[in-house]
């Protein structure tokens, strides 16, 4: 599989390490009442068939964290953005 790093260009998958679902967001509150949100954030993951936003670290390249949107069935990659831009967009929306 090839991933087009926004900084480095097209690189093979073995240069990347993965860290699961990027669509979930770290809760911001430390209020004990939000504990359920925290449990979900730390432990609960979907395993979708089809389109999936996934954290990928270009660990053998520029070391940027990316969000790769791919089809989990066909491995077709639709989009790659930096985790930074992904996070900013999430805050904006």
């Amino acid at each position: 599989m090839l991933i087009k790093c926004p900084h480095c260009g097209t690189r093979p998958v073995e240069e990347f390490t993965f860290n699961g679902d990027a669509s979930i967001q770290r809760p911001t509150s430390n209020d004990p009442a939000t504990m359920d949100q925290w449990f979900d954030y730390v432990y609960l993951r979907d395993n979708p068939k089809g389109r999936f936003d996934e954290y990928a670290h270009h660990s053998s390249g520029c070391r940027a964290w990316l969000v790769v949107t791919r089809d989990t069935q066909t491995h077709e990659i639709f989009n790659v953005v930096t985790a930074r831009d992904y996070a900013k967009k999430r805050v904006a929306s």
Binding site: P12, N30, P32, A83, A87
Partner: protein, 972 residues
């Protein structure tokens, strides 16, 4: 013709004789021969024994699909089993042996299996080795293991080198027959970057084997012209001897280049094989088609081969497989063999055509229409054939053609299934998009002109497809005949695994109707050749037995590798010394000079102890501890991760990463920090210093350095991109050494410039840039892992050895001693400092006695989860000190702790010992343990159970800090 070598023709070099041995007998062949063609030209057809029945076998094919002629190639460390004689390029001094027989190829006891073949039907293993259960280990398994496998691998280490490489191209062309050559040519002329790969030693594909004409010249001459043009272009890479074995996501192809399999020994500077990953923008599969055998009695007797192989041996290698040939065919291509053999002066007895009304030029050879062979006479060599009408025709070779199967494998490696095409009676490749297209006979085009047109189209990356050269086509027609049911002898579907025609209906009858199940039940298609020749026949027989069409039965799953790939190629250069890179510290030479023994920690080589004459590791480490605690010691700590953290928000960033607070740290000071994972478990620890308001130097444990860096990158980029913070690893920039002991200050004072190292000039936890040795920039930290009055000094790495030697010199008058990580580990256990054994991915800050570090004034990674019930339970295992009740006893790490009256059981388990050391200060073994509710149990006598040695002793729980409990020495 003298013997079986034709006098004229072929692509062999008669002026270059080559000498080789097979089963100890000496033979001669020529440059250009394969082992198979050389043996055939010497009238050797018996090349091996089959797997199950040990039947005599000869070659069936002339290429990589060969199931029978598998030999042990070379001797000694370079011996390679199950090598296809049809793919071995003959070279001087070649040594090969046949395999799977005892005591000899000619007389093999195992052939008795054939007499008992009623037993060896499909599913034999499943049916026979079922019961009694107790027989498995002692009887069945040894029998199966002895019977399994064909050749023997060498037991010596492979002396040759292998390597890996990457390639990139606009167009990869797989196969160099007519379609592949013209595709490569068209693309190359457009200036695109082309790779043309072929598994054969010589490019040209079928044009090397056949008598055809292209553009008014022989096909071979045309190929030479095209290859010459391709070879002259800088945008073309020709890769003969290269098998493209797999197609992967995003058009990445795997390939093995056999760089030096065709010589006796590779040059000392070259690899034997090279494993390629080829990233192709587009690719053309021009892999050709495979001729199928027909399933009839005795279709495995040496001398029976595919019609195409028989004429390839004659046309390309000038080797006649017999003096009197019978052709058995269900399609037109068998006639080509008859005509070519006639032209070579080899007598063709008759063409037996299963079709009633074939319309082909037989070149004067008599044709039996609607005929079929029911049995082949002969054991180790064909002596004749019997027909369905009981006629007996004497001959010494049989050429069979059951039709052609496009070689679709690569295109099916990512899950797409091929489709059945009635017109050619073969499976044709699926449509997988325009980045990978099939061309030529691989796409089911059976005429030469179609192949050329198809190839030219596939190779035209832009613009109009140019005209193709003229050629003469031979009409192609086939009427399937899969299995001659009247066969009297054994009729093989899968030669290598000895699956016969009768096995498939039996599998269906027993319920294994699915092709994937039938394959596994009969083992058809499961041998090293993966059923390249037999699979379509198996599908057809199963289809007939179950009343289904070919498409309904379908194929089994195609997977890489197309042909076997050696483990050497897969491992590449990363074996032995090169298994992983070695990382050396800047003080390596200094430590080496002093006789250090190094230990691998991760990739690092760390000085472990510095033995003097006669010392073992414990004696050495104990002496180093005593010297450090009594005088002064010097230790290389360069491997600790060092990360420069800068920016306006650097302090805020650290506040969020560590459970304790760093924004309050003064410039010029260091603080111990503890990082948690988001689930509340301890992640890493280390000392972080503030060098300026917006500049921190973080240290991590050696083991977690890379993980901490990734974690920081993730937290910053994914969670808090708004922070103005920059960080980079500076681990390698600094040589760092710990100087510890009562004389550390006096030693260091001799080399530092200007600064006075007293408690006002350089107090505990001071961290400052200083200068040493009259002008060298350095960083000095007053921190201690040993519990002694200690410093860590960092200097630019290129100066590391120089500075370490200078410190040794400065400390000489105080009796300075180098110490390694064994001594360091002993001292930290004496002081109760936690390390890897306790920071083990299960412990919380509270478990480690560091709960008070967790700030309640800020958010940080792990804060919320650390607060949950299960992680704050008072009965959790927490760190305690432990020592033997009887000071003479030796406690061991990993031992379990029980209440003193309890017998060992899971239920009674109270915890375990995580770290142990012999303390030269206390003269006994002592350790750290994780014990349930441990902090409340200091003074308790417990039982220590060593489950490995099945022994137990008693121990006493105590405070983790067992030496200098008042920290007097630290602050001295």
């Amino acid at each position: 013709m003298t013997g079986f070598r034709l006098d004229k023709g072929g692509l062999i070099d008669r002026k270059a004789p080559l000498y080789f041995t097979f089963d100890g007998r000496a033979f001669t062949g020529f440059a250009g021969d394969t082992l198979a063609s050389a043996l055939i030209s010497n009238d050797v057809h018996l090349m091996g024994r089959s797997f199950k029945y040990h039947r005599p076998r000869g070659v069936i094919s002339a290429g990589s699909s060969e199931p029978n002629a598998l030999v042990e190639l070379r001797e000694g460390a370079r011996k390679e089993a199950n090598t296809r004689a049809t793919m071995i390029e003959l070279h001087d001094g070649l040594v090969a042996k046949s395999q799977n027989h005892w005591p000899s190829l000619e007389f093999d006891i195992g052939a008795l299996n054939s007499l008992a073949s009623a037993m060896f039907v499909a599913g034999f293993y499943y049916k026979t080795f079922m019961w009694p259960k107790s027989f498995w280990e002692k009887i069945y398994e040894p029998i199966i293991r002895k019977a399994a496998g064909l050749g023997n691998a060498s037991k010596e280490a492979d002396p040759d080198k292998y390597e890996k490489a990457y390639a990139h191209c606009d167009l990869l062309v797989v196969g160099s027959g007519p379609a592949g050559l013209i595709a490569a040519l068209m693309a190359a002329r457009s200036g695109a970057r082309i790779i043309l790969a072929d598994e054969s030693s010589t490019l040209g594909g079928s044009l090397l084997n056949e008598n055809e004409e292209i553009g008014g010249m022989s096909g071979h001459a045309w190929a030479i012209g095209v290859i010459g043009e391709l070879g002259s272009k800088s945008n073309v890479t020709l890769m003969p001897r290269t098998t493209i074995f797999g197609w992967y996501d995003d058009n990445i192809f795997g390939a093995v280049e056999r760089v030096n399999d065709h010589v006796l020994e590779p040059s000392p500077y070259e690899p034997r094989q090279r494993y390629w990953r080829i990233m192709a923008k587009r690719a053309v599969m021009a892999t050709g088609a495979e001729e199928r055998p027909i399933v009839f009695g005795g279709n495995d007797v040496p001398g029976v081969m595919t019609a195409g192989a028989l004429r390839t041996y004659a046309n390309r290698y000038a080797a006649a497989a017999g003096k009197s040939v019978v052709v058995f065919t269900n399609n037109n291509s068998g006639y080509r063999t008859a005509r070519d053999m006639n032209a070579h002066g080899v007598h063709v007895e008759v063409i037996i055509d299963s079709r009633k009304e074939p319309n082909v030029d037989a070149g004067g050879v008599p044709v039996i229409r609607g005929g079929a062979i029911v049995n082949v006479r002969g054991g180790k060599r064909v002596s004749g054939v019997e027909l369905a009408d009981h006629r007996m025709i004497p001959c010494d070779a049989v050429a069979m053609s059951g039709g052609w199967s496009p070689i679709v494998n690569l295109m099916c490696h990512r899950g797409a299934k091929p489709k059945w095409d009635e017109r050619i009676a073969g499976f044709v490749p699926p449509d997988v998009g325009d980045r990978f297209v099939a061309a030529g006979s691989a796409a089911g085009r059976m005429l030469l002109s179609e192949c050329l047109a198809d190839g030219a189209r596939a190779g035209t990356l832009k613009g109009k497809t140019p005209a193709i050269p003229k050629c003469r086509d031979e009409a192609f027609a086939v009427t399937p005949l899969w299995w001659v049911k009247e066969s009297t002898g054994k009729a093989f579907v899968d030669y290598q695994n000895d699956s016969t025609a009768k096995d498939l209906p039996l599998a269906a009858q027993e319920g294994y109707r699915d092709i994937e199940l039938a394959k596994r039940y009969t083992t058809a298609g499961m041998a090293t050749d993966q059923g390249k020749l037999g699979n379509v026949n198996a599908i057809a027989i199963l289809a007939e037995a179950t009343g289904r069409t070919m498409d309904q039965v379908g194929t089994t799953t195609f997977r890489p590798y197309y042909t076997p790939v050696s483990f050497g190629a897969i491992a590449g250069p990363f074996v032995g010394h090169h298994f992983q890179p070695v990382r050396k510290t800047p003080l390596h030479d200094w430590a080496d000079e002093l006789g250090a023994v190094f230990v691998e920690t991760g990739l690092w080589m760390r000085s472990s102890w510095f033995p003097q004459a006669g010392e073992d590791w414990l004696a050495s480490a104990s002496r180093e501890v005593l010297a450090t605690r009594e005088r002064v010691g010097l230790c290389d700590v360069s491997t600790l991760g060092k990360i420069d953290v800068q920016g306006k928000d650097a302090a805020e960033f650290l506040n969020r990463l560590y459970c304790n607070t760093f924004s309050t740290l003064d410039v010029g000071k260091a603080r111990y920090g503890l990082m948690l994972r988001e689930d509340g478990i301890v992640f890493d620890d280390g000392t972080t210093s503030r060098l300026a308001a917006d500049h921190f130097l973080m240290t991590t444990t050696t083991a977690n350095a890379a993980r901490v860096m990734s974690h920081m990158e993730f937290c910053h980029q994914a969670h808090w991109p708004e922070l103005d913070v920059q960080y980079v690893s500076v681990t390698e920039q600094w040589a760092q050494m710990a100087i510890a002991g009562p004389k550390a200050r006096a030693t260091l004072q001799k080399i530092v410039d200007k600064v006075t190292l007293d408690d006002t000039g350089f107090p505990y936890l001071a961290a400052k840039e200083i200068s040493i040795l009259g002008g060298m920039t350095a960083r000095l930290f007053r921190i201690s892992f040993s519990g002694e009055h200690a410093y860590e000094l960092a200097v630019p790495a290129d100066y590391g050895n120089l500075v370490a030697r200078s410190i040794m010199q400065a400390g000489e008058e105080f009796g300075i001693t180098p110490y390694g990580i064994e001594a360091l580990s002993i001292m930290r256990i004496e002081k109760g400092h936690v390390a890897g054994g306790e920071l083990n991915g299960t412990t919380t800050a509270g478990d480690l006695g560091l709960g008070k570090m967790m700030s309640s004034k800020k958010d940080y990674i792990g804060r919320m989860m650390a607060a949950r019930e299960g992680l704050t339970d008072k009965n959790r295992q927490c760190v305690v000190g432990i020592r033997p009740f009887d000071a003479a006893d030796k406690i061991r790490a990993g031992s379990h702790i029980l209440k003193k009256e309890d017998a060992p059981s899971m239920a009674a388990d109270q915890g375990y010992i995580s770290s142990v050391a012999w303390s030269p200060m206390l003269n006994m073994w002592l350790g750290l343990a994780l014990l349930s509710n441990g902090r409340e149990r200091h003074g308790e006598v417990v039982k220590i159970f060593d489950g490995v040695r099945k022994i137990h002793m008693f121990g006493v729980i105590c405070d983790p800090m067992q030496y200098d409990r008042e920290n007097k020495k630290l602050h001295a």
